[in-house]
Symmetry: C2
Subunit: 308 residues, 2 copies
């Protein structure tokens, strides 16, 4: 059994390759819920959905989120009713949020709802939210606090961020199965996601970080930063403005208390000695995923690092 | 100011003509909420929406409900998640229910939400739910109780109904503005809707029926039964199985405590003496509405009866 810590699009694309190398039944994904947001009274879990839709082959390949070919008729009318529509939700996607919201209102935990959604989409991976408790990622820009989605989607990552807050994190417990999966795993993967906000919000659940620090198996990360830039999302910007080096080295530093190996791109090979000085092995490869073949090759490498 | 008591499709089609004869600002519609139902955790008000969509020129003209050209992508996915989809909700229509539900959860009354929806759709009529309180229409068939929508939509009006129950009706108060509008009206119209369940649920609010009985202005109904049959819906069946004559006479009987005039179709002219024996004037015309011209002519006749 392999455990993967995952954010959104980067993680989902990496995992697409990974489940071609390792049977889905043997993969447990611990997903970020810090970005969860209530929209139109519905509970939206963007990162869990991105991972599920991607692995089910249903995701919009250009956007990286939502259903392929989805329509936005509901939001067109919501706009007419005066609602904001900066957070795009397609009509098919709306079904997921309706289902999740109603099940949560009936008393189901997010982990149970996620399990049912994932099975309905035909997947056999285990997808666990890091926690069933309330954990919300906020950022502040010049002292003004905003939900991470407001920064990310509404403001297009333009504000300069001075602080990231994982509200409620300290009192969260890992969702059922999270700790057990880490303890029993043959290895742990940290997907190429934003180390500050996406993986950061998973690690903000105190017992998850502690379990990784104690883990006896290999913990292997794939750097989401290549040549000082992220492929998608604001990780590089956020790292920089928070005083973390926006590089594979910076990523390794974020995870230094539990990481064994980090897979970095060839363009970053000069960072290897600096990373290894942290006591973390740096494995150099072509880390940019353009094709499914790239994803599969990267997955094989990650697996061999875990097994080494 | 004219007040119209309204159910769903029949009322909406009649009112389409009426607002061509009387300015929208002078029309207050008191709508049925007995058919309201919670679907996917959303508050659906079918009759209010049918009236609003129709008057806004947005309704699906074939179905008589929902938005013209709407898609059903959300429900396709909800079906995948194991939800029932017998109550059809299009993607655009879903927006109305999302808006209504969120506003109600925030503490708005249904009358306020309906007002805002109607204004967003560009209408100037006043559309008032009969009550802001809980009033739900149930029917029983061989002792088995079901929500009216289950009988109407899920079971396609096939069960033989032995009883209609307006649950909660006795303790309902009319929504703000309902009594005032009846008291101040120049006349009251009872639209060609199901007298048992649609208008019946409006009249089940005790103070509404009492206000009509006391009304000093004319109360004019348009019979929804023509030649013993309804144009749409189960009114004829329901009347029959509840021991009410399924005819324009039976309709007049349902309203005998407050009705001044009933407009009936030519095919029912032989019923006129029997109706007039109830102390209700029967006005004979072509009551079947096929074209907008039919609707306008019928509206003019109703208006002249009010003014007579």
């Amino acid at each position: 059994m392999i455990v993967a810590l995952a954010g959104g699009v980067g993680a989902a694309r990496f995992l697409e390759g990974f489940v071609r190398v390792v049977p889905q039944e043997k993969v447990t994904i611990i997903g970020n819920v810090g970005d969860d947001i209530e929209i139109y009274g519905l509970h939206v879990s963007p990162d869990l959905d991105i991972v599920a839709y991607t692995l089910a082959g249903l995701v919009d390949p250009n956007k990286g989120w939502g259903f392929r070919g989805d329509t936005f008729h509901c939001q067109e009318i919501l706009c007419k009713y005066g609602y904001e529509t900066w957070f795009h939700i397609g009509d098919r996607d709306m079904a997921t949020h309706l289902y999740r919201t109603q099940q949560l209102r009936r008393g189901s935990r997010l982990s149970k709802v996620t399990h049912d959604l994932v099975r309905s989409l035909g997947l056999r991976v285990k997808l666990l939210p890091a926690t069933d408790d309330q954990l919300t990622t906020y950022v502040t820009s010049r002292g003004r606090r905003m939900h991470f989605q407001e920064y990310m989607v509404k403001r297009g990552t333009r504000p300069r961020i001075d602080r990231v807050i994982f509200e409620g994190a300290k009192s969260t417990e890992p969702a059922d199965g999270v700790l057990e999966s880490i303890t029993r795993a043959k290895g742990v993967l940290v997907c190429p996601s934003n180390p500050i906000v996406s993986i950061g919000a998973v690690l903000a659940v105190p017992k998850i970080r502690a379990a990784l620090q104690r883990a006896k198996t290999k913990v292997v990360a794939v750097s989401p930063i290549i040549g000082g830039k992220t492929v998608k999302g604001p990780a590089d910007k956020l790292m920089k403005s928070l005083g973390v080096e926006p590089s594979a080295f910076g990523v390794a530093e974020c995870y230094r208390d539990f990481l064994d190996t980090i897979i970095i791109d060839r363009v970053d090979r000069k960072l290897a000695p600096k990373i290894e000085a942290l006591g973390i092995k740096a494995t150099v490869t072509q880390a940019l995923m353009k094709t499914m073949a790239d994803k599969v090759r990267l997955a094989r490498l990650a697996l061999s690092e875990i097994e080494s």
